[in-house]
């Protein structure tokens, strides 16, 4: 078994337009998906959501505000899972609800230092 980092990206502005009922329905989909991975004993760390604000540091002491709000694919959160192979990790990620909401999942194997 190997650990994989799942990175979730979507357009953060969409969530702001949703009704409470729609948000609740989305939360249920997330919980059912993560719960399903945990039920297979393949969840390492549920991870967290990321705030939209933030900063990017570049060489020469250039600091920019997170321009994420305007980008359709902003990094919104992460989860850690374990799987036998990249293929299996991809298979587990196919149920991620973000795919139904125009977002995407990046699956990256973790190489321990």
């Amino acid at each position: 078994m190997k650990d994989f980092l799942l990175l979730f990206r979507n357009d953060p502005q969409v969530a702001q337009t949703l009704s409470p009922e729609e948000l609740q329905a989305r939360t249920k989909k997330w919980m059912d998906w993560v719960g399903g991975i945990a039920a297979q004993n393949k969840l390492v760390d549920r991870g967290n959501r990321l705030s939209n604000e933030g900063a990017v540091l570049k060489p020469g002491n250039i600091i920019t505000d997170g321009p994420y709000v305007e980008i359709k694919e902003s990094l919104g959160g992460y989860t850690l899972i374990r799987a036998e192979s990249l293929e299996e990790a991809i298979e587990l990620s196919k149920g991620c609800p973000i795919l139904q909401f125009d977002g995407n999942v990046e699956v990256r194997p973790i190489n321990p230092m």
Binding site: K28, M31, D32, V34, G35, G36, A38, A39, Q40, N41, L43, R46
Partner: protein
């Protein structure tokens, strides 16, 4: 002498553990056997004397006096042991060989609580902790422990022996953990009490009275923790709540012949309302903390099960609680129960797909679940899984239950 017949086992349970705890605290845990021997001798004398002369006015006080004298006699006879003990105690009373054996309520309570921490020491295996708890904290006999674990007396004796060796090796002290360590140590104590309760609740032992007693002992010890300010923490309340909810169904879960009655077939009127309301009280107290533990979640699930009628809301809540529970800590049972809740909340079709991913083919309950999920849509698959469950089943009551299910399906498909 029927009067003493009923009283003695009860007194034994409650007083044996008190006497052992106080003496053990005095002698040090490395001499736990001596404390146990003195307590056992005391009860032997009680059963002989009371059988002839009848009950003393205050049986507990009688036991304490005898235990004290026996402890003092023992110390006088064993000068070597006494020197060691006296050395440890740093007592000024060496000369007249008078040893204060304090059997006040306060000292009993303190000693028992400290014994719980000593026995539930992280260096000892969970299995051994449960065994030691039953023996030393609850006063169960070796025969009873063997019956509860469905194993032989020899196995239990070996297990106890090794556990006591380990306590000596690790030089475990009978004391209250330091302020900083108490939370962590209490987690081990809570886990042991939780396992102890489950041992009674889910054991396949045919002796249902014994099963209940194991559960009640686990509850008594948990209550102990709630009575002390330092250990009355939210997650201990959650644990107590969970136990109350489960125990409320004791009378409803087996029939007159000791056969299991499944939740959906139970008579609600037999559920203990008093225990349910206590469970609610402890759960409310538990939520006053800010850390959510698996005990909170499990108590939450159990509280939904105190409402018998099915509703979409009920199963959606239960499903979400199982999702949370699995995120905190995986266990095969939680994974199976979560999938059952999923079938109730999201439908059988989705649950079958999820169940197939669980990778628990060697588990009887897994095949029982799949049998349940396929029933009505694919009876052949249902029977196939129930057959597998039957092969894996060991308890007689389980086998009867599964056989009946298979019969019901074949009757339905014929009709």
């Amino acid at each position: 002498m029927t009067q003493t017949d009923g009283l003695l086992p009860h007194l034994f349970r409650t007083e044996y553990s008190k006497i052992t705890a106080v003496l053990c605290k005095l002698f040090g845990i490395e001499h736990v056997e001596i404390a146990e021997d003195i307590a056992s001798d005391t009860f032997l004398l009680a059963s002989e004397t009371w059988g002839i002369k009848g009950l003393p006015e205050n049986p507990a006080a009688w036991l304490y006096t005898v235990a004290k004298n026996k402890a003092k006699d023992y110390l006088k006879r064993n000068t070597l042991f006494m020197q060691k003990i006296m050395h440890q105690l740093d007592s000024n009373e060496l000369d007249d060989r008078e040893l204060e054996i304090n059997l006040s309520d306060q000292n009993i309570t303190d000693s028992q609580l400290q014994m719980m921490f000593a026995i539930c020491h992280p260096s000892i295996s969970a299995e051994a902790q449960i065994c030691l708890s039953l023996r030393v904290l609850c006063g169960f006999g070796i025969n009873e422990i063997a019956a509860a674990f469905l194993t032989s007396k020899e196995t239990i004796n070996k297990r106890l022996f090794r556990a006591k060796e380990k306590l000596r090796e690790e030089n475990v002290k009978i004391e209250f953990p330091s302020e900083g360590a108490i939370g962590e140590r209490l987690e081990t104590v809570a886990r042991t009490l939780y396992l102890l309760f489950n041992e009674g609740y889910y054991s396949h032992s045919q002796e249902s009275t014994l099963q209940k007693e194991v559960c009640y002992e686990a509850m008594r010890l948990t209550y102990f923790l709630l009575e002390n300010k330092k250990t009355n923490l939210p997650f201990i309340n959650a644990l107590m709540s969970l136990m109350c909810f489960h125990a409320s169904r004791f009378e409803a879960r087996t029939d007159g012949d000791g056969q299991t009655i499944l939740y959906q077939d139970q008579d609600e009127n037999l559920w203990d309302r008093e225990l349910i309301s206590r469970g609610n009280y402890f759960l409310n107290t538990a939520w006053q903390g800010n850390k959510i533990t698996k005990y909170h979640i499990e108590a939450g699930i159990a509280s939904w099960h105190t409402k018998k009628e099915d509703s979409a809301e009920k199963w959606e809540h239960i499903l979400q609680l199982y999702n949370q529970l699995l995120i905190i800590e995986y266990s095969p049972v939680a994974a199976l129960n979560r999938t059952y809740a999923l079938s109730k909340a999201n439908g059988k079709a989705e649950a079958v797909i999820e169940a197939e991913k669980l990778n628990l083919a060697g588990n009887q309950l897994y095949h029982l679940l799949l049998g349940e999920l396929y029933m009505g849509t694919d009876d052949l698959m249902a029977v196939d899984h129930l057959q597998k469950a039957l092969q894996l089943a060991t308890a007689k009551s389980d086998k009867t239950l599964i056989t009946n299910k298979i019969l019901a399906i074949s009757l339905l498909s014929k009709g």
